[in-house]
């Protein structure tokens, strides 16, 4: 770790600590109307009539008839309406919005509206739906031959559930009509230009008539990648229709129930083994996409590319489908499809190893990819794969191997222990050629006459530290104090489109562009002059071109890596697990700020443990999610994983700033494999097949074992 990694006080530390930071809920003007969404109470129905009572003066009801432009939200495939069309497709879908000055009156009006529905069949089970939004296939080698020649074939199904991002600040957007027919939107968001594209389209306005700014944002974790576009269109339509500022902020229940979550999955693994080695995998990945496509295409792409894990499997057939159901559209959550397939492949590898009588770690390392090997999409691992060293580093701090042997002995008491290990990667940046073909990032550095340098990018800080990271890079290259670098919350009127803040791309891609821009500015620096430097994305030349048509080529330029170990103790009387230790080794390249990266790793790791263990959320047969409060949707506290240790391992990426690569998502990808391996060991080597694995599941498993 070089000088760049030394930690500084986060840029937003004092404003957030003192309460001075302005979130969208903090604007106090008296002329802001409160907007509340009329949510569908039916998961699938024809909308016959919306009976709106007579409205008091100053109160408004808007719906699809008020959309001046296209009533479709621009995300990937634009099939989600701003306000419901003739049908509603999930519980919570926005039918309309009530706006007015007094919140309780708005709520009163909302409750007085009568919606007449005509029921249509509700589908909540992916296996019973006949609509696949997306259907992709990856092939490699000769799968038929491998299965024909196999000594043994394993087939198992793994299921994963919803997971909600549970950012501290719920979704919130505000729209303001401005002079000359302009519309200004701001709020809690990750991707200002995504919102701009969606809102201009819904309002039927040219680019220059709309601008989007980010307010201080209390967490995103992917949840504010697409939803602010949807909510932005809704408040935008309301502001234009009423001629007033309109702000809509979700309550926690509304947010938990009606905004995008991680895709639940149903993954079938058929694995061929010959001479003690996995020779082929035939994988069928099914993601519950929910009612509209939103981000499912890209989440699914990443999910299936990871389906063989970190293992070199010469013959592959991976089919991935995102299925339509009448549940809330699934979306982005830190990890973006990876957690679902990684837990599945880690578990199937465990089960096969145990069946073959080999230690899972030994079995996995035997299959580990290395530099130069080909990826699932016949691309290449261009750089070192540090997993072996990371395993050793982790083993030194937590005694994995020793404890694994110890807990393998028969345990008879009330409390039983287990330890598990998982290994994963996260492909850094957009999948395939997205950066080159769609994003085409542009960054600017503006130097004023007094020597202050302003970073002009559309990337957002939502707590993850970008407002600190980016100035550190620019300050270092310009050899200026950090205080001389300005980086404000972006407004699309002033910043170029440097792309969205997603896909663990910002530091690696945008940070590198800023680094290049700063180098040029330094070379061209003229005291007392105003200067503007602009840099454009350049696709790394070493990449094997990626084709989405046949899933061939380099899906990612490089990979971040992790090894996780979970040690736990299960109370066989109550089924409750207690995590005794969570140990993570992470390679995100050079950390641009050590404290920020360690904080990111700890937080993501805890989310990942929550995903495996307690974050249970499900839609019932009517399509309703009932786990819509923090007493029903359980996320872990620090008390649940008091002993959580993170270490960093660094393999530098030459195309990232100072060797940095993707960091944000990695820690949220890997814990479930380790967690479940530990649970399986504590339950005496039973094969398990789903997460979250709750206390109730533990007792059921024990009961079944007793019956056998």
């Amino acid at each position: 770790m070089g000088q760049i990694s030394g930690s500084v006080v986060k840029r937003d530390h004092s404003t957030k600590f003192s309460g001075a930071a302005i979130y969208v809920g903090d604007y106090m003007e008296s002329d802001i109307l409160t907007g509340k969404i009329l949510h569908s109470q039916k998961a699938h129905a024809k909308l016959i009539e919306v009976k709106v009572p007579e409205l008091p003066a100053g109160y408004y009801y808007v719906d699809r008839r008020d959309v001046p432009g296209d009533n479709n939200v621009n995300i990937v495939k634009d099939d989600m309406p701003v306000f419901a069309r003739e049908t509603v497709e999930y519980i919570g879908e926005a039918i309309g919005m009530v706006c007015g000055p007094d919140e309780s009156m708005v709520e009163h009006i909302l409750s007085a509206i009568e919606v007449v529905y005509e029921d249509l069949p509700v589908v909540t089970d992916v296996l019973k739906s006949d609509t696949a939004f997306f259907d992709y296939t990856i092939t490699k080698g000769d799968i038929d031959k491998a299965f024909k020649e196999a000594d043994k074939v394993y087939e198992e199904v793994f299921e994963t559930g919803f997971q909600d991002q549970t950012y501290l600040e719920t979704q919130g957007m505000m729209a303001e009509p401005q002079a000359e027919g302009r519309v200004f939107l701001h709020g809690s968001l990750q991707c200002p230009y995504y919102v701009l594209n969606a809102v201009t389209r819904a309002l039927g306005l040219p680019r220059e008539k709309v601008h989007i700014a980010q307010d201080a944002t209390g967490g995103g974790f992917g949840g504010k990648e697409d939803y602010p576009s949807i909510l932005g269109c809704q408040v935008g339509v309301a502001a234009v229709a009423t001629g007033h500022k309109v702000r809509c902020i979700f309550g926690r229940r509304e947010d938990l129930e009606f905004t995008p979550k991680k895709h639940p999955s149903h993954n079938t693994y058929k694995v061929a083994v010959k001479d003690g080695r996995v020779t082929a995998m035939d994988v069928d990945v099914i993601f519950n996409g929910g009612a509209y496509t939103t981000l499912s295409a890209v989440v699914l792409q990443r999910g299936i590319i990871c389906a063989n894990g970190v293992y070199d499997v010469p013959n592959l057939h991976i089919r991935g489908r995102a299925i339509k159901t009448n549940t809330v559209p699934s979306g982005a959550y830190r990890g973006f499809g990876g957690p679902q397939t990684f837990v599945s492949v880690e578990m199937v590898m465990d089960h096969i190893a145990r069946d073959l009588g080999i230690r899972p770690l030994e079995f996995k390392l035997k299959h580990l990819v290395k530099k130069g090997d080909s990826t699932s999409t016949s691309g290449k691992y261009h750089f070192d794969v540090p997993i072996v060293e990371m395993v050793e580093e982790l083993d030194r701090i937590c005694d994995y191997r020793k404890k694994r042997e110890m807990y393998a002995k028969p345990q008879t008491g009330r409390y039983r222990r287990g330890i598990g290990l998982s290994m994963c990667f996260h492909g850094a940046g957009f999948t395939g050629s997205g950066e080159r073909d769609f994003i085409k990032a542009v960054v600017r550095l503006k130097k004023s006459a007094d020597g202050m340098v302003t970073i002009l990018i559309s990337n957002t800080d939502m707590g993850q530290g970008l407002r600190t990271i980016m100035p550190k890079i620019v300050a270092k290259e310009l050899d200026l104090p950090l205080t001389q670098i300005i980086y404000e919350y972006p407004d699309t009127d002033f910043v170029p489109d440097s792309g969205p803040t997603v896909a663990s791309r910002s530091t690696m891609v945008v940070g590198e562009l800023l680094c290049q821009a700063a180098k040029r500015l330094r070379a061209e620096w003229q005291d007392g002059e105003e200067q503007m430097i602009e840099e454009h994305y350049k696709h790394p030349e070493f990449l094997i071109p990626f084709s989405l048509d046949d899933f061939k080529g380099d899906a990612y330029p490089t990979y971040s890596w992790l090894v996780n170990v979970i040690e736990l103790e299960i109370d066989t009387y109550t089924g409750r697990p207690q995590v005794l230790g969570a140990y993570g080794c992470f390679d995100v390249g050079t950390p641009i700020d050590y404290n920020i990266v360690v904080g990111q790793m700890e937080g993501g790791f805890l989310q990942s443990i929550g995903y495996a263990s307690m974050e249970y959320m499900t839609a019932d047969k009517t399509g309703r999610i009932r786990n819509n409060s923090f007493s029903d949707y359980i996320i872990p506290t620090a008390m649940d994983v008091p002993n959580l240790k993170v270490i960093l391992h660094t393999v530098e990426y030459p195309e990232g700033p100072y060797g940095a690569k993707g960091a944000g998502e990695l820690p949220a990808v890997g814990a479930p494999g380790a967690y479940m391996e530990a649970v399986e060991q504590a339950l005496e080597s039973v094969d398990l097949h789903h997460i979250p694995f709750t206390a109730e599941d533990v007792l059921k498993s024990l009961e079944e074992a007793e019956k056998k």
Binding site: S104, Q578, M639, E696
Partner: protein, 272 residues
């Protein structure tokens, strides 16, 4: 905007309670969540008579407005009560939430109420009309149904001074902090010269009120440990028949299984 009265004496509080339609407000940790706008509160957390913890020679009297933190800090409060109270929510909530609030909320999941059941605690209820002392089991008439007149306040909790030393307690929540009980168990055994003088078993969060079955407990009272051991199977079977858990955040089957597991663990722990 919150409307309410903040009396500084019990007398004043009772007069206000009798004269107006008021919702007693201790720490507000339950009421704030409900956030009702059209109610008027009677803030009872500044009343000195309701903030004391004293041993009067007959009972340990815990003032109704004592916060959970104050209970934890008191040298007089028995360890069993402290164990249960220490598992309520998180420090910030324990600093605000009160003993009477835990009772008055009317939930079978209330962690301190389980201990009041197993201790056979009584509540001192006072109004301008006078006062009465009611056993906790009689006070809870059903889910959210309390034997509390509109002009009455819970002023004190009366715990027996001894008898809670030999206990077995477990809270089962969905996580280790900020967790509503999915099930809770407390068992107390009082032995004299090898004979069971008293045994009490209570289950929280499985039905509309905390459950305690005195008739089942009587199966073991007056027996030696050796005699009790012979009754063990019948004793467990009696609870198996008596407990019919409600389905909630977890299934009824899970609740039942864990109730019986913890009952067995209690008996194991006490050598029965």
């Amino acid at each position: 905007m919150v409307n309410g009265y903040m009396p500084l004496s019990l007398k004043e509080a009772l007069e206000l309670r009798a004269a107006h339609e008021l919702v007693p407000y201790g720490g507000g940790t339950d009421l704030m969540i409900e956030g009702e706008k059209d109610v008027c509160y009677l803030f009872v957390n500044k009343i000195a008579e309701m903030k004391k913890i004293v041993d009067d020679g007959q009972y340990l009297r815990i003032g109704a407005s004592c916060t959970f933190t104050e209970v934890l800090d008191s040298p007089l409060v028995p360890q069993l009560m402290k164990e249960a109270v220490s598992r309520i929510a998180a420090p910030a909530i324990r600093n605000a939430g009160t003993m009477a609030g835990n009772i008055g909320n009317g939930s079978a999941k209330a962690d301190s109420v389980l201990i009041e059941y197993v201790a056979g605690a009584k509540l001192r209820l006072v109004s301008v009309r006078g006062e009465r002392v009611v056993p906790i089991e009689a006070f809870y008439k059903g889910r959210k149904e309390l034997d509390l007149a509109k002009d009455e306040l819970i002023v004190e909790i009366l715990l027996p001074r001894t008898g809670l030393e030999n206990y077995f307690y477990q809270k089962v929540g969905a996580r280790n902090a900020l967790a509503i009980s999915r099930l809770s168990f407390a068992g107390v055994l009082h032995l004299e010269d090898g004979v069971i003088r008293d045994i009490a078993v209570a289950f929280g969060a499985v039905a509309n009120t905390v459950l305690r079955f005195r008739d089942i407990e009587h199966m073991l009272i007056g027996k030696t440990i050796a005699e009790a051991k012979k009754e063990r199977a019948a004793f467990i079977a009696a609870y198996d028949a008596a407990i019919n858990p409600t389905r909630g955040r977890v299934s009824a089957e899970y609740r039942k299984a864990v109730c019986l597991n913890l009952l067995r663990a209690f008996l194991d722990d006490k050598g029965i």
